[in-house]
């Protein structure tokens, strides 16, 4: 039996004096897509930050590919194949599109030009804007640029935090097509979404969070039925 791609065991974490996660258990098997759903303030993004190495858990374990990686920095985890596309736009606004892609060579295989070619193949629109400062791109283009890292770096785990926030439905659909393609390549994906429907469509499993705990885990269909009660706090 192979170890899961990503595993959180009884993780407690927070900011300063505030505890946000009160014992989160989460398993993401290899090559599967897990949608993590929940209302505002449930602890979804904190979970993503723990999984990406941006917050060190107070207690509990973080495992990547079966290795205990508590305390590893986000750079360490990125090198180990955990790719996080953070909430908001995961780009460097004062760097050009080209330069943004260049920075990705820290985690992606191949030369600068190979990487650029691959990215432009996925998103030809970025190719037209290669010399432009990334901060001046439209919201959708910025998210494409951010997604490019997931596409070119061939990670083993991908964490997508609120990817669809503030984007037009058409662009969201396009981005989720890419997610489905990445899933086919065998990448384990953790999708964090406040808007459940789109995420549930590509997910293999889903989990619901409330008040810093996982309150339900199951197949997308099962979870879809429970969602309203989970969001309104009636679950468990």
């Amino acid at each position: 039996m192979t170890a899961p791609a990503l595993e959180l065991i009884d993780v407690r974490a927070g900011y300063g004096r505030i505890n946000v996660l009160h014992g989160v258990d989460l398993t993401l098997p290899r090559g599967k897509v897990l949608a993590l759903l929940g209302a505002n303030g449930a602890g979804k993004s904190t979970t993503a930050q723990v999984a990406g190495g941006r917050i060190v858990p107070r207690s509990g374990c973080l495992h990547v590919g079966g290795h205990h990686v508590n305390g590893a920095s986000s750079a360490d985890l990125a090198k180990a194949g955990v790719c996080t596309v953070p909430e908001g736009r995961g780009i460097f606004p004062n760097l050009t599109v080209d330069e943004n892609l260049w920075v990705m060579t820290h985690v992606a295989p191949g030369s600068r030009s190979e990487l650029r070619e691959r990215a432009f193949r996925f998103f030809p629109r970025l190719g037209q804007r290669r010399g432009q400062l990334a901060g001046t791109l439209s919201g959708g283009e910025q998210q494409m640029l951010a997604m490019s890292r997931a596409l070119v770096s061939e990670p083993s785990v991908l964490i997508l935090d609120e990817m669809s926030m503030g984007l037009a439905p058409l662009i969201v659909r396009e981005l989720f097509e890419n997610v489905a393609m990445l899933k086919d390549q065998g990448i384990a994906i953790l999708i964090i979404e406040q808007f459940a429907e789109t995420a549930l469509r590509v997910a293999d499993f889903a989990a619901v969070m409330a008040h810093g705990r996982i309150t339900a885990v199951g197949l997308p269909d099962q979870i879809a039925g429970q969602l309203s009660s989970a969001y309104l706090g009636g679950a468990a």
Partner: protein, 637 residues
Amino acid sequence: MHTFLAFTVVGVVTGAIYAVAASGLVVTYTTSGVFNFAHGAIGMFMAFLYWELRVHQHWPAPVALVVVLLILSPLLGALIERLLMRRLYAAPMGVSIVVTLALLVMLLGVSESIWPSQELRRLPGFFAGHSVSVSGVHVTYHQLIVLVVAALTAGFLRFLMFHTRTGVTMRAVVDNRDLAGMNGIYPERVAQLSWALGATLAALAGILIAPALTLNHQLLTFLVINGYAAAMLGKLKNLPLTFVGALILGLAQAYVIGYGGGVSLGSFRLIDAAQVVPTVFLFLVMVGMPQVRLPAGRLVAAAAPRVPALRSSLGWAAGLVVGISALSYVLSDFWTFNFALALSLGIVLLSLVLLAGYAGQVSLMQMTFAGVGAVIVGRVVGNGSLVGVLAAGLVTAVLGALVALPVLRLQPLYLALTTLALAMFGDWAFNQSWGFNQGGSLTVKRLAIGPITFGNEQAQLVLLSVVFSAAGVLVLAIRRGPYGRRLAALRDSPVAASTLGMNLVVTKTTVFALSAGLAGIGGALFSGLRVSVSPNDFLPLESLFLFLVLSFGGVTTVIGALFGGVFLALVPELQKHINIDNIQYIGIGVGAISLATNPHGFGGSISMAGEQLREAWAKRRRRPPAPVPAMTLETAA
């Protein structure tokens, strides 16, 4: 024409050196987000180190250069990043200002300890004695080398930042540190590299500029500050504009020296102002330049020390006056004088509590206001009279309001730089005939109110303890009142405060005026106590000291002001007894650097410890008689 050419050459060469200095500053700022006030001090320190190897130890120039520029400077830069800056990247701008200023002071102290300033040192230029003639103007080899080095630096930086992955990575880290980590970049390593590079550029500037003057610690440290003005023109980001700024500055300075002798207005000759050209330039750039957008308010440090109630602050004030009066009967005249000195500095420090602590407006020119107060009471209005002291407060208050107007929209960093520029301008003005008397010192009579005179040390100590306590009570009362809450709003988030309908202009102007007025009264009393004062008592460096000891002592506390005054007045005296040189420099440096871990300082710690004790005591008294059984709780739920 020949003179014009000659001055142009001098100007371009000076500008080139400023450009190298400024580019180092820009590199560290853009790649680590920290504006390094100690940049000049690093250049100074390395120039001395180069002198040590080259002149004192007789090393050949190339070897000394390689050791200083390629080994020691990068090492120092990397060390600074590792020990200090790494903790600061998430800290508010104010803390990084304090820490780099402290580093400046510490480097000054260390280098004055190693290379005492009594000895005259000269650093030869490269290929001293060789020159070429360009259209009849002698250009030394050293000057040529400066030009080549500046051009190479510009080219190298441009290439590094835009055409290498390392450079792009550096820029990425500044843009979004967290995201850089997610891209597999170790931001600390990148920052370390950029600090190493910045230190090397500082050292290069220091070594290039040193041959033009005798090696002087303070002169070199503050001379490189001229580079700041150039960097500001490029908004600390744009390297080409920075180079343009440096050239304009170098040329302006050269032409003022070259032609300013013939331009005069009354007794004022333009050439006398050559020294302040960079300061004026910096001021104009800061005031005239469109500002970088205000960052949306970031909430920092929710837990501030508690402000005592009126009754308790009155109680403490009375206690202080009584205690000090009693003490004055025991102490010798010498110590009485020094305690009085501590309290007079404490009054100036209270002005900074109001301005920097409560309103969050960094000022590096409080001693300049104090100096103006001294001039008013000593030269202008009723020497030694109460009217004179009050006039000192009034005039400095008006001056403070005038200063506030052009700096209204500045953010902490720019405010710090502008007030530093004004402090340097003040230093120059004090040294003019219309400032202190030419030749320096000014005699100020001790205060006399009608028949009551505060002539001896004991009376001065009592007087100052009364004024300090009153000022302390006043400052605390301001903090508690509605105006104090407006100041807090101004400090926490100017944007939010103004959207809620607060008039930023009025609030900022009045707090500057109040603070400057208090500093002016403090300065008047300080000079009365000292009887004889000179511009050296009000140097920009003294204002830095004030800001640093207060930050160390607790910028929001009256205890911090008291502590700072005692530190500044007594440590130099203690030093004579324990025989360690420059202990105040090193003490201030170490103390303020410790702020990197505790932003509320020493005073804040005391005040918070007191609060915890009070809470613990209250809890003990409130403890219920018997524990409630767990069962009851569960059934109740």
